[in-house]
Amino acid sequence: MYKELGTFSVLYCVLARDIRVALRRQSDVAAVFFFFIIAASLFPLGSGADPKLLKAMAPSVLWVTALLSCMLSLSRMYASDHADGTLEQIMLSNQPTVLIVLMKILAHWLLSGLPLVLVAPLIGVQFNLSGAELQTLALSLLMGTLALSLIGSIGAALTLGIRGTGVLIAILVLPLYIPVLVFGAGAVNAVSIGMSANGALSLLGAVLAMALVFSPLASAAALRIALE
């Protein structure tokens, strides 16, 4: 009999597959990215281009827009796997579902969260943010978007296969996103008023750590319920 694959090779295979599928559907990935850029550009058009006002608004605008962009792609997280039956295979894998779910979340973050982190400083420049603020923005988004993918995964799993999923996910997930938003935007705001961002960033890190522990568990439970 052959030697069984180790946990890491299986998990790598899951991650690689999700990324490969996404790269064959590049338009989906690009759509989230462009939504972020377009939505963020709407705010100056709505409020006027006063540089001071824009600078004051920037942390909240960029953070809320990033949060909405992340949320838009959530419904895809498990839906296609559910529709074609691969989710059943995932649940019946000989590796713990929690770990596979974590890989799927990681893939989601790499494809929809990380691009936002990379482009956000560029948009921040349009809002007159300074160098230190841009750095904090990128750092807070780096941690924050991962937390958003983690928390959002619970919503995606709970609403699997339900009609009108998109809006429902928003209702479930947005209130849970509030701490991430508060600490993430708070970190940038703190730098703007000349304080240290360390406090806010550590709190954001704590939220991320909590999400890392609880969210895969809750998502796996929710997926099991959805498939029953």
């Binding site: 619970i154 709970l158 609403t159 339900i162 009609r163 009108g164 429902l168 209702i171 479930l172 947005l174 209130p175 849970l176 509030i178 701490p179 508060v182 600490f183 708070g186 705001n189 703190a190 709190l203 939220v207 909590m210 609880f214 809750a218 439970a221 929710a222 319920i225 959805a226 029953e228």
Partner: protein
């Protein structure tokens, strides 16, 4: 098609302590409790209002307006407490796989949401004379608002899933996730409030707590508690009947 009460019957025969988890035994028991709870609630709430509106002294700073606190504070307590209680029943439901626990969680939610709404409305009524605005982003009120969103999420998920047993379990997971989040959200909102230096007058710290005020609030809280029990039991009974009649419908075909 036959009715599916097999499971609850099996439970009653195996574990005696779980017998109240059987809807059949629970139903008449709840029926007996409801009138007592309702009567107690009416008396206590009336007495609490009397204490709050007539006995408690006028506040030198806030005048008569502060008296709304006798409704606001117990309502805010219960909005949080009922959410946690709902999550507790949801967790019990998942662990024991008991239908009655899920029904309890489902029945608690509307009462919890109602108290959240009461806390929000009374808070904003109090805020108008105090702050000069109907809504101020005060930490307490903001937390209440987010709590209302969490309740709305719970209702929406339950309404969106057609299969009852899946709806029960999925919303139970959501309630648990929400319950873990409630303290985090509360803390983050407090932190946010200090960063942005929001309203400095808060409903809680303004009037010095006189003994009679504390008494009034506690009496109101117990009254709310009895009211909650009564309404929740009524709702669970409705839920049992509704699910039974659905099972009966299948029995006929």
């Amino acid at each position: 098609m036959k009715n599916i009460d097999i499971k609850s019957n099996m439970q009653t025969s195996k574990f005696n302590w779980l017998q109240y988890a059987s809807p059949k035994i629970f139903y008449p028991l709840a029926g007996k409790l409801i009138p007592w709870c309702l009567a107690g609630a009416a008396i206590l709430i009336a007495y609490g209002l009397y204490l709050g509106l007539f006995v408690a002294p006028t506040d030198f700073q806030q005048g008569e307006g502060y008296r709304i606190i006798f409704v606001h504070v117990p309502a805010a307590w219960f909005s949080m407490f009922l959410y946690l209680l709902m999550a507790l029943y949801a967790g019990l439901g998942i662990v024991l796989n008991a239908r009655l626990s899920y029904m309890m969680a489902t029945a608690i939610a509307p009462t919890g949401a109602m108290f959240t709404l009461v806390a929000l409305v009374t808070g904003s009524l109090w805020g108008k004379p105090m702050w000069g605005a109907w809504w101020v982003w005060d930490a307490r009120l903001t937390s209440e608002l987010i709590l209302l969103f969490l309740y709305i999420g719970y209702f929406s998920l339950q309404a969106a899933i057609d299969d009852k047993s899946r709806a029960d379990k999925a919303s139970a997971v959501l309630a648990l996730v929400g319950a873990i989040n409630v303290p985090i959200i509360y803390f983050s909102v407090k932190w946010w409030n200090t960063l942005h230096q929001g309203a400095s007058v808060s409903l809680m710290n303004a009037p010095a707590m006189a003994a009679v005020m504390l008494k009034g609030m506690l009496v109101m809280a117990i009254g709310f508690w009895l009211y909650s029990i009564a309404v929740i039991l009524i709702r669970v009974r409705c839920e049992i009947l509704e699910r039974d009649s659905k099972a009966a419908m299948f029995r006929q075909d």
